[in-house]
């Protein structure tokens, strides 16, 4: 099982979430990317996408509303430019993908898997409004399985065994365990819980809501999955903004956390949390006399 990222020294359980780290170059001004547990790329589609109209991101009292529209350079240019740069920078690169069809996911997974330096693949199954952007509809009931589990099974089949498939799912505490069971059975090596919540922009367009207001819901989802599937690695994603949040997410059963919208307020957030958790681990090692293995399993 490809449960571990193919690195010998894992620098900790903090990753940058999809769409919140730019291309990586911008983030590298504030900290060494190799010091993080991982860098999840913006979501890459087979063809380039220009994204949606303005306003794309607006403040809300409880976080940020966003409708960026998956702007990305497409798989070809991503593999030719952004990915090699990230690998050279020493980042543990988790490539986030989304597709219009199951076949497109197969092509994305195959070509990402053939590229050197990819630590894991994250399949975005949780866009709040997939059909707005022409993506495959994954909102059907997950337990019955169909599209989302087929996508994960397809990606698993197309990837080398040592590249884990992470399935990114919605923050739906009542159904997340059912989803997790289906996706684990389909071959998901880990779960990313979760994504933005469906919301409306002030002007009435569809949007996703991210930010601190999601934290308690995300933590609940992590706890539900961990209780039902204790062996499945779960990455907590949703409103993590401080080291305290990260500790709470890990305590609920997550093996690692992704930091998303907090990066947009302070680009050093992931590095700061990572350093604080490393200090925890060092202190724990000191007191027990044993090396800790915090966050060894990314997925």
């Amino acid at each position: 099982m490809g449960r571990h990222v193919a690195t010998t020294t894992h620098p900790g359980p903090v990753l940058v979430a999809a769409g919140c780290g730019g291309t990586g170059r911008e983030l590298a001004s504030y900290g060494d990317l190799s010091a993080l547990g991982g860098f999840v790329t913006r979501t890459i589609t087979l063809r380039p996408r220009p994204g949606g109209p303005q306003p794309r991101v607006v403040e809300s009292p409880s976080g940020l509303l966003h409708a960026v529209g998956l702007q990305n350079p497409g798989l070809d240019r991503f593999l030719a430019t952004e990915l090699p740069w990230l690998v050279r920078a020493g980042a543990r690169v988790v490539v986030s993908i989304a597709g219009e069809t199951v076949a497109e996911h197969a092509e994305l997974a195959r070509r990402v898997g053939q590229s050197p330096g990819v630590a894991a693949l994250e399949v975005d199954l949780a866009e709040p409004d997939p059909t707005d952007w022409g993506l495959v509809e994954t909102r059907e009931p997950m337990a019955s399985g169909l599209v989302a589990t087929r996508i994960v099974a397809t990606c698993r089949r197309e990837l080398p065994r040592d590249v884990p498939v992470l399935a990114k799912v919605r923050l739906d505490p009542l159904r997340v365990l059912d989803q997790a069971l289906g996706l684990a059975e389909a071959g998901a090596d880990g779960l990313v819980v979760g994504h933005s919540l469906p919301a409306l922009m002030p002007d009435g367009r569809h949007a996703g809501l991210s930010g601190p207001s999601l934290f308690a819901v995300a933590r609940r989802c992590v706890a539900e999955v961990h209780a039902g599937l204790p062996t499945l690695p779960v990455i907590g994603c949703g409103g993590v903004a401080t080291a305290e949040d990260a500790r709470a997410m890990l305590a609920a059963g997550a093996v690692s956390v992704q930091v998303g919208s907090a990066m947009l307020t302070d680009p050093t957030t992931a590095h700061r949390i990572s350093a604080e958790l490393a200090a925890d681990a060092a202190a724990a090692a000191e007191s027990t006399g044993a090396g800790t293995r915090v966050g060894e399993a990314l997925a």
Binding site: P48, P50, H66, P267
Partner: protein, 294 residues
């Protein structure tokens, strides 16, 4: 472990700064911020991102108006705040001594000409702040500097006196006619567009630098093109991150290859070539000229 960009001495920093002075000047609030390791990296046209108060995740962009050395604090940057929204009002109300998380300098600066050429600088309202350090740099290079300043009224006219020290001539346009040419209430973009051709002609402008709202920048870019001058436009786009991480501030630009790309206003900008920006499509997503062109 070094990363390719970590070596660039001009890259941004995220630091805790402190408000050294805060002073109301006309309609604006002028702040001086002690920001270790940020001021030294500033170039004309770059900006800093500042917080907008408790509970607001978005940040606000402020042009770097100047850099100076303050005894005991090292270097500091000066910014001009127009207190119009809740975030900027919060910032304008903070007393000296307030500590702030500051990110900067951000964005691509104005390109400076290699040769001593004739430059026209156009600034509107608080945006004109970024033109003052530019004017000094241009003058150091032996360029002729002519300035056109526009504002709704005198209280929003940024330091016309200071402009006169660096510029060969300064033309002032105000919407209400309180100083300089009167606009009789017409939109400032129209007033600038009306005044600019004569200024460009008289200066025999080679390059036009502009900082203003988008409507004015569009007119400046067109006027520059009409006289065969290059234009560099400093475009302010809403955040929220301002660091290039979120892709919230997409601007449609046309490349050398004639293809339209969506670039980030904060990172590939804020200074963009005026003839490259698709001004009429700003805020939207133009049908790409070519599918592979993003």
């Amino acid at each position: 472990m070094t990363t390719p960009t970590a070596e660039a001495p001009t890259g941004p920093r995220h630091v805790t700064g402190e408000i050294l002075t805060t002073k109301k000047v006309g309609a604006y609030q002028h702040l001086t911020l002690a920001v270790p390791d940020v001021a030294e990296r500033a170039r004309p046209g770059t900006f800093v991102a500042l917080p907008a108060g408790e509970g607001r995740m978005g940040r606000r962009a402020f042009w770097i108006r100047g850099v100076r050395t303050v005894g005991g604090f090292g270097s500091a940057v000066e910014v001009v705040v127009d207190p119009t929204g809740p975030g900027s009002r919060w910032l304008a109300a903070q007393p000296a001594g307030t500590r702030l998380e500051v990110t900067g300098p951000l964005g691509r600066p104005f390109s400076l000409p290699r040769d001593p050429v004739s430059c026209v600088l156009v600034g509107e309202g608080y945006s004109a702040a970024c033109l003052f350090p530019l004017a000094s740099r241009l003058k150091e290079r032996g360029c002729t500097v002519v300035i056109l300043l526009a504002a709704a009224d005198e209280s929003r006219l940024l330091a016309a006196l200071e402009a006169r020290r660096t510029a060969r001539s300064v033309t002032v346009v105000t919407g209400d006619g309180s100083v300089g040419r009167s606009g009789a209430g017409a939109p400032l973009a129209d007033l600038v567009a009306a005044a600019l051709p004569e200024v460009l002609q008289r200066a025999a402008a080679d390059v036009v630098y502009a900082a203003a709202p988008a409507a004015t920048l569009a007119r400046v870019a067109r006027a520059a093109e009409d006289v065969g001058a290059w234009s560099q436009t400093a475009l302010e786009q809403p955040g929220p991150c301002l660091t290039g991480l979120c892709q919230g501030c997409a601007v449609p630009v046309v490349g050398e290859d004639r293809l339209v790309r969506m670039v980030r206003g904060c990172t590939e900008g804020p200074v963009l070539r005026g003839d490259r920006v698709r001004w009429d499509d700003l805020g939207g997503v133009p049908a790409p000229v070519d599918q592979g062109a993003l």
